[in-house]
Symmetry: D2
Subunit: 142 residues, 4 copies
């Protein structure tokens, strides 16, 4: 049941609600999160702020990792890097996270972020994230 | 007048308002931004979301770069990397951005992020960002 | 003729000769470089040094970018990030670089690095690199 | 005795010998490694190859981390990111690694790399590295 597990965790991420982000798809090793550009998530030139793009990309990458963790194991982002390839503007911003390699201690995920406009998708950002697998630490589950 | 320039730009960053972030200090090559942890910026375990930490750190690093740019020149984040060193929790989250090297095309900035609790500061994240200097592109000024 | 252009440039990279690295494949937007693990490229535990892994991955990513640049345009690495997923050991280390997005000023490439052992390939590292396109700077061509 | 421990480990890094790199200074939480630019470590335009710069910076950052680890604990680089700020050319390339934060599982280090020319130092690269602390794994000590 990766879906229910991820949905429950996602609904507790206050930031995702604040940004207006929605969990769109969950598969084993894959998670998609979408965001509608509004002034509430903008930077000074009207594009979606790199921080908001990074937030949905980080969540997509992190939840992709969580889908492959055993029950009772959580993940925390240890680091991520994001390349911003084009201004984030359009009708929707879609982040697709995938597990690259799941390890015992660390998991590498990546996320591609697309801007959707007139039915066309354009790659606007690419993120790689290292997640630390957390077992048996109070409050850090899922 | 780096202060007025940065303040005006910062006030147009809708995301900063949405996150409750405040511009605290502006000097030549240095910018400080603070955030009060609330459920609205949280991840699933109650800490401040890595994306919100990254957002204020990226803004601090980017505005530090902007303080050293000539009038009429804007900056866009080309990429950033953030290491998350400890859970982001406390009374305040403070991001301090500094220019490492300003170049003709690219500028490297960094930001240290601290959690403040009981008067003590703890380093919780470190970001490095590459900013692209933008001249003469409509709408990308300051 | 991407092949000849890349081969000529590769043969001028003294470090590649020093490391014993070989240019194995060149296609539009894709370059493969291989390395045979020897004590000369090792770190202290006998694995291939992260710096040597990074060197071949960076060259593969950078040359992949060069294959899509017009004649007379060179590239310089502005930054790269590498995640090391498993110790680099085996009969051969193979780095495969690909262009993710070619821009006017900056190009994003990535490289996957595999260790080959008994005919099997294992992903050991993943790199993303930002290349700066260089036009009309003396000595920085190809 | 951080010095003896680091020296012994450094002398086993075949790549450092191959590159002509020298361990110059070891203090608690700090390590300096230097390299003399030669054609053997060059890229195609005659500068020191980003991979060679990264190799000495990674070693400096990793050994800085090792100086603060208890005996019997080793470190492996999990990931690093390097920004290359100026062409690596000069009489000497000096990498100075420092621990930013030592954790139970992961340690963050950074390294600044300088080119020395006519007695002047110029910052040419900045690296941040995540080291994984390794205890009780055969062959991964110091």
């Amino acid at each position: 049941m990766p879906l229910a597990r991820i949905q429950q965790s996602f609904s507790r991420q206050g930031l995702m609600t604040t940004l207006g982000a929605r969990l769109e798809k969950v598969e084993l090793g894959f998670v998609e999160i979408a965001l509608v550009p509004t002034p509430a998530v903008s930077q000074q030139h009207g594009f979606v702020h790199a921080g908001a793009v990074a937030a949905v990309a980080d969540s997509a990458a992190g939840y992709a990792a969580l889908t492959v963790m055993p029950e009772g194991t959580g993940v925390l982002t240890a680091e991520f890097k994001i390349n911003l390839l084009a201004p984030a503007a359009g009708e929707r911003i879609v982040a697709r996270g995938r597990v690259v390699k799941a390890g015992r201690t660390l998991t590498l995920s990546q996320a591609d972020v697309f801007a959707v406009k007139g039915g066309e998708e354009k790659l606007i950002a690419h993120l790689t994230a290292t997640l630390m697998n957390i077992v048996g630490r109070d409050g850090v589950v899922d």
